[in-house]
């Protein structure tokens, strides 16, 4: 932490939006601090579908959202190619999809400037043979898949190079309001417990689904309608193309290839607390049934885990309808910038809600435009033009790159700490260097360690061993506790995702790993019942 805590702007919430706001503010000359209670992208950003929208999903019902999507789609390809896989997308009409929607689809795309080309069904099936052979029509759109953490880190890196800061594991615990201004904010270091007081000129909340909690700190009411969406991760890419059903959005109608896996989503369920939700077996079964409209053999394919993200849905109070409360899908996905000056009488506070990852840069631009207006800053936004750090123009992500790079160095299992996802020791060291004191779950997000079929079975203790080896200089007790939390927390976290889908080969995998850890490795002896581990879980606690 810097000596000087004199920041122009404090941005709360380290997801894509927060990172985008940080970058934009920094580029316009404002010294900004971004804070995040956990690791970067652990809110909605980190639990989302991985989709780079073409906008095709919105052309019929929400043209504004569609236009924003396609515009940002093109921009992100230009400024962040390394975070994007150019998978392309198909919108396909399955037998269950009504004709009228499909017929109107191409025109709706045109009206929203979303590239849409109808292709022969035979061609779609040739390129993606796992698709339902009974599909009636197929359209090609520029969907892609995007890797959010790299995106966030690139934005932060850009901002840091310009003199701004970003601190993770700093939870905003209090804001002091005097009359119509926020005068100070207190941050608590989630690892050490120490407190830091910041006195920014302006506060921007990018806390997404948690925006209500942040605003409440200064007696401002922002009612969020958190919408849980469950997704299923398949072990293999049965498709290399993003596949959407060409119909009115519903559950389980989209499959996205993301790195080595394919993700089927999603559902929509209102939850009260964005930190408390459950995924049930029934929910999983229903999702699979829907997914079988796209891929008839889905039932045979191996599921790795289920996870859920909570959408930051917002509808201004006057417009909240009973329908919208029940069916979150009716709430607009377009974003809203809440000017708390006019709305709530707090002059130097703005909240950005709604939106989607694809449009994060635009959301940031709209937000920062307002902030700069209030601060009298006239610098224009440059985030759409400047390519993010460490990116090669046009060089998008290639699935094979980790294997190819490793093979180019002679290949072999020895260099791989996580064999499933080809994570090497140098990769892990580099990440740990950049994120001191992080958890293994942070490592997972940053490197993909533990995201493969064994779900951490073979790499957890290796990563913990590396952490222990590096921290060895810090003293024995710390090393041990670190390694414990690493192993136990990580295994617990992985188990959470496996539990709702426990069946077939993945259950067998889980059982084998449990047998190894519980048997010859004696993992039970590491548990201190009653104390939390890195996942924040207390052994035996219900979630």
């Amino acid at each position: 932490m810097g000596e000087s805590h004199a920041y122009d702007v404090l941005v709360v919430g380290g997801g894509a939006t927060g990172a985008g706001v940080l970058r934009d503010l920094a580029r316009r000359g404002l010294r900004t601090l971004l804070v995040e209670r956990g690791d970067w992208g652990t809110g909605t950003t980190g639990r989302y579908h991985g989709l780079l929208h073409s906008g095709g999903r919105y052309v019929a019902k929400d043209r504004l959202a569609a236009q924003e999507c396609i515009s940002e789609n093109r921009i992100l390809r230009r400024i962040a190619p390394a975070s994007i896989e150019d998978t392309g997308g198909y919108f396909v009409a399955t037998p269950a999809d009504p004709d009228d929607y499909v017929t109107a689809f191409p025109a709706a795309c045109l009206a929203a400037d979303v590239d849409c080309e109808e292709i022969p069904v035979a061609e779609a099936l040739r390129r993606e043979p796992a698709l339902n052979p009974a599909i009636r029509r197929a359209f090609k759109l520029p969907d892609g898949s995007v890797e959010p953490w790299q995106l966030i880190e690139s934005n932060i890196a850009d901002a840091r190079a310009l003199g701004s800061d970003a601190w993770s594991y700093q939870r905003l615990v209090e804001m002091e309001r005097e009359g119509e201004r926020i005068v100070a904010a207190t941050l608590r270091d989630e690892r050490s417990g120490s407190l830091t007081r910041i006195t920014p000129r302006f506060v921007v909340s990018c806390a997404g689904a948690w925006a209500g909690q942040i605003a409440a700190m200064v007696n401002v009411s922002v009612t969020m309608h958190p919408g849980k969406g469950t997704m299923l991760i398949y072990n293999q890419r049965m498709t290399d193309t993003v596949i959407n059903r060409c119909h009115k959005s519903s559950d389980g109608d989209i499959m996205v290839p993301v790195h080595t896996v394919a993700i089927l989503g999603t559902t929509e369920q209102r939850v009260e607390d964005p930190d408390q939700y459950e995924i049930t077996r029934d929910e999983v079964a229903a999702l699979i049934r829907e997914g079988e409209n796209l891929f008839p053999d889905l039932g045979r394919m191996r599921l790795l885990r289920a996870y859920a993200g909570v959408r930051p849905l917002y509808q201004p109070p006057a417009e909240v309808t009973a329908d919208a409360l029940k069916d979150g899908r009716q709430i607009s996905r377009a974003h809203t910038v809440l000017d708390h000056a006019s709305r709530d009488g707090v002059e130097n506070f703005v909240t950005i809600v709604g939106g989607k990852l694809t449009t994060f840069r635009r959301m940031a631009e709209d937000t920062v435009d307002l902030v700069c207006d209030k601060l009298g800053v006239t610098e224009p936004c440059t985030t759409a033009d400047a390519i993010l750090p460490n990116q090669v123009p046009g060089k998008t992500y290639w699935l094979g790159h980790r294997l190819a790079e490793h093979e180019a160095e002679g290949g072999g299992d020895n260099g791989l700490l996580c064999e499933c996802e080809f994570v090497t020791r140098p990769m892990l060291d580099a990440f740990l260097d950049r994120h001191p004191g992080c958890s293994l779950d942070d490592v997972r997000r940053g490197t993909r360690l533990g995201m493969g079929p064994c779900q951490g079975g073979f790499c957890t203790f290796r990563a913990a061993g590396v952490v222990g080896e590096r921290a060895g200089h810090a003293g024995a007790a710390d090393v041990a506790e670190l390694a414990d939390r690493a192993i136990l927390g990580f295994l617990r976290e992985r188990f959470k995702g496996t539990r709702p889908i426990a069946a077939g080969r993945q259950l067998q995998e889980q059982w084998m790993i449990s047998g190894v850890y519980g048997g010859g490795l004696g993992v039970e002896s590491l548990i201190e019942h009653g104390t939390p581990d890195a996942s924040g879980e207390v052994a035996g606690a219900q979630r």
Partner: protein, 446 residues
């Protein structure tokens, strides 16, 4: 092949679906003969189901100026010998060896095949030419300087075990024989079988074919030898799938009519018969009726004889062979999943002390061990087997696969023959014993 394409392979033996079964348990790595001896090969788990998740077909990287255009991210899978032990030992049913074969083909697709790989696949061409010029060809292959040049230019190791070309092909011998006999209608499928001789019996080891024909005759079966070409396995192994399919179609066109009439198709090469039984469908994606009906009708000759025995129909008039016989079960035999029929047949021969050498692989793995960079690996893989055979001091050894025989014979100096040649010796010994029992110069009628 994209992952999706693999997954949607319609046959039950679908390789692609099986990649989903992997538990990452490393059992396959423990049984891999190649990983055992060289650091160049990371083992079946790495190049199989682990790498499989990183292969994609159509999503090619955007062409970056100056950077190489990569279609396949693989390199080390080239060292997989295709022996199939991994698939056997996997508790979850992952078809690892098959997956590796496909990714090797993928690695080579879109590039012109290496002359060597192409050449090793052209067994018919090499065989025809070699037989035509057999004295020179045999001399050349035994000539050290020429072999050294071959190694440098074509990449076939100078020590790679090559058999000798015969003076004529089995096909031409057979055709002559049929001509002499005149054309008669072939007996029905209960009294005749079709013989798939394979390249080795056709060009190099006619004596194996002779043994097969005689053994079949002694068991009441006439032999039909139709026109046929190489089964295509060397082309499959070297990733030249298009040419392999051409061979397959030519063979299926000839064999299918026989199979449909109920004739069994007998082979003396466990590699050829496995190719027809399994690889035409699994590797070459041929799922038509011809491929299926021919596969179902194909039998390894020892498998066939043992089946006769289990029906009580085998001619068991074996005489006594008093010898120790080391036996090596080829990898391709294990892939058949039929146990070790040769050992069960040997057990019927009095005095024959056949011993299964219980070793994983002799190292030749088809054409793998002949290649310059793979030869040392093959020899290291087979070393314990060679030691065991030499230590047995047995006069000869037995093995059902031709390339294994050549490898073992060259490495140990021990004559190595097909199991049916041993059985034929036993039949002949039986003849002699019965003749001797009748007494010398016994008058007719006694």
């Amino acid at each position: 092949m994209t992952i999706a394409e693999l997954i949607m392979d319609a046959s039950e033996e679908a390789v692609g679906y099986s990649s989903d079964e992997c538990l990452k348990c490393n059992v396959c790595v423990t049984v891999c003969p190649v990983a055992r001896v060289t650091d160049l090969f990371p083992g079946p788990k790495y190049v199989g189901p682990q790498a499989q998740r990183f292969r994609t077909g159509h999503a090619q990287p955007v062409q970056v100026p100056g950077a190489p255009f990569m279609l396949s991210p693989d390199v080390t899978v080239d060292y997989c010998s295709g022996c199939g032990w991994c698939t056997s030992a996997c508790p979850a049913g992952v078809k690892i060896a098959e997956m590796n074969s496909q990714s090797r083909a993928r690695m080579k697709a879109g590039k012109r095949p290496k002359l060597r790989d192409w050449g090793l696949g052209q067994t018919d061409l090499v065989g025809q030419v070699g037989v035509l010029f057999s004295p020179i060809a045999n001399w050349a292959l035994a000539n050290r300087p020429i072999r050294a040049i071959m190694e440098t230019t074509v990449g076939i190791h100078r020590q790679a075990p090559f058999p000798k070309f015969g003076r004529r092909t089995l096909q031409s011998t057979w055709k002559r024989r049929q001509k002499r006999r005149g054309t008669t209608a072939a007996p029905g499928p209960d009294r005749a079988v079709v013989y798939f001789h394979g390249c080795s019996a056709n060009y190099y080891e006619q004596h194996v074919a002779d043994a097969a024909v005689e053994i079949l005759r002694r068991n009441g079966f006439e032999t039909i030898i139709p026109e046929q070409v190489c089964c295509g396995l060397p082309l499959i192994s070297n990733g030249i799938y298009t040419d392999a399919r051409q061979k397959a179609h030519r063979n299926l066109d000839v064999l299918a009519p026989y199979a449909r009439q109920g004739y069994r198709i007998i082979g003396t090469s466990t590699s050829c018969t496995h190719t027809i039984k399994a690889e035409y469908r699994e590797m070459l994606d041929l799922h038509d009726e011809d491929a299926t009906v021919v596969a179902n009708a194909t039998w390894d000759i020892c498998e066939f004889l043992l089946d006769l025995h289990e029906q009580g129909k085998l001619n068991t008039q074996f005489g006594r062979l008093d010898e120790d016989l080391p036996y090596h079960a080829p990898c391709q035999l294990r892939s058949h999943g039929i146990g070790l029929p040769a050992m069960d047949l040997f057990a019927l021969v009095p005095g024959l002390r056949a011993a299964d050498m219980d070793h994983d692989c002799c190292g030749i793995a088809g054409t793998y061990g002949m290649k310059k960079e793979k030869y040392p690996i093959g020899m290291a893989v087979g070393a314990p087997l060679f030691e065991k055979i030499k230590a047995s001091n047995a006069p000869e050894a037995a093995c059902d696969s031709e390339t294994c025989r050549w490898q073992i014979e060259k490495a140990t100096g021990t004559r190595t023959r097909h199991p049916i040649e041993i059985l034929l010796d036993a039949y002949r010994a039986g003849d002699s014993e019965r003749l001797a029992a009748r007494g010398p110069l016994a008058p007719a009628g006694t």
